[in-house]
Chain length 337, copies 4
Amino acid sequence: MRIVMRPTATVREIARVAATIETMGCQAHIAREDKRTTIGAAGSPQQLDRDHLLALPGVQEILDTRMPFKLAGREFHAQPTTVRVGDLSIGGDALAVFAGPCAVESEDQMLATAQAVKSGGAHALRGGAFKPRTSPYSFQGLGREGLQILDRVRRATGLPVASEITHPEDVSAMVETVDILQIGARNMQNYALLQAVGRVQTPVLLKRGMMSTLEELLMSAEYILAQGNSQVILCERGIRTFETYTRNTLDISAVPLLKQLSHLPVIVDPSHGTGRRELVEPIALAAVAAGADGLLIEVHVDPDSALSDGHQSLTPARFEALMERLRPVADVVGRTM
Amino acid sequence: MRIVMRPTATVREIARVAATIETMGCQAHIAREDKRTTIGAAGSPQQLDRDHLLALPGVQEILDTRMPFKLAGREFHAQPTTVRVGDLSIGGDALAVFAGPCAVESEDQMLATAQAVKSGGAHALRGGAFKPRTSPYSFQGLGREGLQILDRVRRATGLPVASEITHPEDVSAMVETVDILQIGARNMQNYALLQAVGRVQTPVLLKRGMMSTLEELLMSAEYILAQGNSQVILCERGIRTFETYTRNTLDISAVPLLKQLSHLPVIVDPSHGTGRRELVEPIALAAVAAGADGLLIEVHVDPDSALSDGHQSLTPARFEALMERLRPVADVVGRTM
Amino acid sequence: MRIVMRPTATVREIARVAATIETMGCQAHIAREDKRTTIGAAGSPQQLDRDHLLALPGVQEILDTRMPFKLAGREFHAQPTTVRVGDLSIGGDALAVFAGPCAVESEDQMLATAQAVKSGGAHALRGGAFKPRTSPYSFQGLGREGLQILDRVRRATGLPVASEITHPEDVSAMVETVDILQIGARNMQNYALLQAVGRVQTPVLLKRGMMSTLEELLMSAEYILAQGNSQVILCERGIRTFETYTRNTLDISAVPLLKQLSHLPVIVDPSHGTGRRELVEPIALAAVAAGADGLLIEVHVDPDSALSDGHQSLTPARFEALMERLRPVADVVGRTM
Amino acid sequence: MRIVMRPTATVREIARVAATIETMGCQAHIAREDKRTTIGAAGSPQQLDRDHLLALPGVQEILDTRMPFKLAGREFHAQPTTVRVGDLSIGGDALAVFAGPCAVESEDQMLATAQAVKSGGAHALRGGAFKPRTSPYSFQGLGREGLQILDRVRRATGLPVASEITHPEDVSAMVETVDILQIGARNMQNYALLQAVGRVQTPVLLKRGMMSTLEELLMSAEYILAQGNSQVILCERGIRTFETYTRNTLDISAVPLLKQLSHLPVIVDPSHGTGRRELVEPIALAAVAAGADGLLIEVHVDPDSALSDGHQSLTPARFEALMERLRPVADVVGRTM
């Protein structure tokens, strides 16, 4: 925020504005440009009382250098956004369940998994062709070949497909072969990538960074929306804390908070959020009870031989059982499946 | 954890077990002693799927080499513990809901709140006579006078009362006036206090420290159990993270994890866990869906004039509405109210 | 903070004050008592512009319900406090180095260590008779016997002794046998204990909780000071973060920040702060360069057989080498040894 | 890590090694294969004192079973790497100080700052043409125009220039106009970007992510090295914790740890690491005392009118004073300036 003083403002008036800003808990930075004095307020400008500042002698106007959640926020868009992918709606009455393996490993594996999760009740398929991994020596995904597999599997099964994009240059290839572009946690603040997916109309599934506040998540959504793509789904997938029993700490409060702050759909990934197969079901139930619009579940036909994340993947049988247990919970919170 | 192979196990079977352990995210260490091969699993043995390992060809048994939770752990006490306070059971089929103000402020306030929450369906009353506060200049509770008020209110309403203990010397006075001794988050590792409440038979409600791991919480329960008091209730109430939208980050995964690791009842405090009134209901629903044995809810007859925590307290009307919404969720996860 | 309205204040005036409080980033809680309306401001009352609020129509006065760092803060006590223990001053020009084992194990061990660290240049001895441990099954210290050993060792060597107190009841026994009462990280918010050590005149070494902000540390110091004991030394010993290479993350910025916020001496514990022997020296040098008034160093005559914390203890030879390396660093930042 | 015992080792010697491993905080797993006994150390093998273990009777050699930092690690490259930029060496005896504004704002500002920091003793200039910002509405840098300014300023002053790269496509343009490519904290795990800078020979300054472990930082360095660019400088710039007094918590222990784990140069950014101008000097002194190879300091000719990060920028006069205070500290730790 920046306070523009009148050209006639006295030194005393300038000092008073600066002191008021400091009293309100920000740092004041006085700048003189040409004949004009402006006072920047750094720190947490949302703490400032604009009306009070505007009323001080010598103040001409207040410029917002920061406009949180202009497009992602509820204030400007009270109605919830529904993201549509073919027949599937995300953010409406019906829950949307994405299921599938962490990584595309082969066409056989993807087709078998897709058929299994479809029969178990999933509404969309997930699977990564590009896998960002901490180590350059870990399996990085099948790449373009993986995209081809996803394309053939979605045609064979009719399930829409969500898959992670890691490089701005891949946008044009990916929009041909997948239905939803996923931005992974590590890339949540990769602004070049956010802007690239903002320039197409394919829906984007934006995962919260493991180190990101909800405000930062919404600001990253804002990067996409600001480029013209309004089809953004937010995804809580756990944050990094000191607790080590779980891979991440799933922030369940993020669900009702994001729904309150934003009009965008909110889904939950209990597989990454816990990193433990046996916690997926109770956390999936909790997420729906808390108001989530959908779930992202890792399912593998043979978890013990999965190339990544097998320890947090469900078998198709266990996935189907989870869907059965979800139904009555969805029902009591007024959602359909 | 150590997998003991049968004497007849082949090299191929041994290698498969080792590979499976590695796939599950641990390191396998093969040891041959006499004619017997054993395979140690190091790292995070809690990630291992014991049933799966036990089912592999050649495996004879699985030994736990690490048993930190001797008394609090499931291994030694497979049946869930039910804590009984008069007619109330905590940890059985029925959910136990504790409701009441953060602090005892006056007899009128407590009696009015107690009657309101009882009529709303609460099973027990909460209210602090001793309030540990960050600042020595904040309201510290009514102390002994508060205990007398709690005693009169529980007699008048028949509701059992839980209240925080902060000083080992207060044990004898408190066991006369309250039904459940609460250990607050700041005192979770105050071992003098844990040992003092371990030497009586009054049930203890042990809240997780705001920066404590689940292992540390269970170890603190162990301090109480080791003194002879087996009536311990664990309480998840949020941990400290970088996120600032909520007062704490409620660790929903702690619920199923604690139930799996321990036989003790687990309840959730969505009031402290979120610090925001409007999040109490969705998080309470989520906690029950995730398997919690009960809830601890702040209710105040006049939240806006509460001496502490008013911003996270429900009115009696809102509490009653919450109880109504909880009922069907409890029902679908097989719990009664 | 609480705004008291005039008895004649209109509903419109009350509403305006409440709205102003909200605009300034706090929550307003309107309370009516008798004929008087007061408005509580919850959240971060330090953000509020008192002058602005006082100037609103209908406002009579503003009561501070919170006065951060009244006694611990620089504003009320601009001159640095020097804590004196016999000939030793902590907080003056000379650095104060406390050295010794984590735990008192035997008289031989303590005497040998004390002589070694004295000859290496230490100014005071550290050693715990009461050891708060996460597990009730770990070594908990020699207790009263340990205190007797410390007493004999300080008489034999002339070194003042700092030792941890864990129970309010131990104050009278400890002030007879040790020179400085240490409050450990786990007990930083054990207010019963803080008040107990506040009621004697023995200096207190207050360690920052592993989960505590600097504000909370200073508030805990305030608990001691408010009871009348002005001899408090603050100690940074690392906080809990997601990083696992080190036992804790030593917050080096805490040193200049605490010196700026408070008049109390600030020392650093690189042994617990890093948990790794090879990091003690570089972090000790860094702490002195950043302005610390002293250090707390774990030294053991035989680290590999130490009953606790051996992996972070220096040998006497390595301690002596560290003292040699510290001297020129102390010199260039204007401190003596 | 696995300790290989001599064939003649006695049971007593084996037991002592195992006990020593446990004392150092790991789990020991004894394995007998053929006539040979080996002892695996699981848990946190980095805590083990290799030299001590190697010196125990009966030990033949120590094998590392885990070598995550193949190219970045010390084991494969014992000699420290010196990164060279023209006449400047980073990682040798001389400290390297980078100074300049957060963002390139204009040619006048950059030229004035460059001349001021050069006269103050800086060895290189920093300044961002591309600024990744949380909000899409914040100033994002001058972009290509900023690069042109940097190019002209380095020619005018002879100072090498470091500037942030945010998009893989910018590599070819940037290697023409700047001397060191900076990867910012938000992009530390943007693998497409890491690989792109790995394919050129321009030195890379890799900043630690604000919630990244040291292992992840080294793995990101590995991504660059694995592409063939060996000129990588690591930068500690603070991590995200619960403490809010500082913008980030500068992890001072990272300096000696990274120097021990890796052969790459390590520099520290006290400006971002603290976010407060008055802490820059003490933390800069601490960083050098802890063994840093250099510093990254924000300097602005007029901090109060800076478009970003003014509150953490030094004036040229204060920068010069800092350099004066650094000199004797550098001297006592054996570094030149």
